[in-house]
Symmetry: C2
Subunit: 102 residues, 2 copies
């Protein structure tokens, strides 16, 4: 298995959406997918505003570059000010994977 990395982003949304959260999330999603080293992203948010997003990357440098992307930095700032009451990030190396499809 080729080495790759996962970024686990667990978050709790505020109730306010006026500042354009959905639009920004869409733009960031699309921007992330154009970053060098991006593999894929999985995202779920429930009705209570709790969310887990896992993005997969080829290298740690790719993760760092995305974290420092200028537009993403703006979104991160908006996130802290408006959209999240809390979040937690773990950067991980994937060691093993398997799947099941019916």
């Amino acid at each position: 298995m080729e080495t790759y990395y996962a970024v686990i982003f667990t978050s709790q949304r505020t109730e306010k959406d006026g500042a354009g959260y959905a639009k920004m999330a869409e733009v960031m999603d699309s921007l992330a997918q154009k970053q060098p080293g991006f593999i894929r992203v999985e995202s779920v948010r429930d009705a209570e505003g709790k969310g887990i997003t896992v993005s997969y990357w080829k290298t740690l440098e790719a993760i760092q570059a995305w974290k420092e992307n200028a537009k993403h930095l703006v979104a991160q700032q908006f996130g802290k000010e408006n959209w999240y009451t809390q979040y937690h990030v773990e950067i991980c190396q994937v060691m093993k994977e398997y799947s099941f499809t019916k």
Copy 2:
């Protein structure tokens, strides 16, 4: 940072719930928390049945022991037969973490 591990479980639920999914999920959750090496679990499922659960463990041996737990094996079999159309598992080593609280 002490080394620890994350198991990312991304799944799509079937529509049927008759076979006791919610109850089994609750029992498994409680059982996992009693396993040696368990740290914590985060879980989100949206209205379309897509879910991400991330469990955190102190060692790879703890993850393996939970995977092979007899009651958990029964739940896994039920899961494949009844509750999931697909799932994907990644076992990861956490390299870095940070968080934000408002």
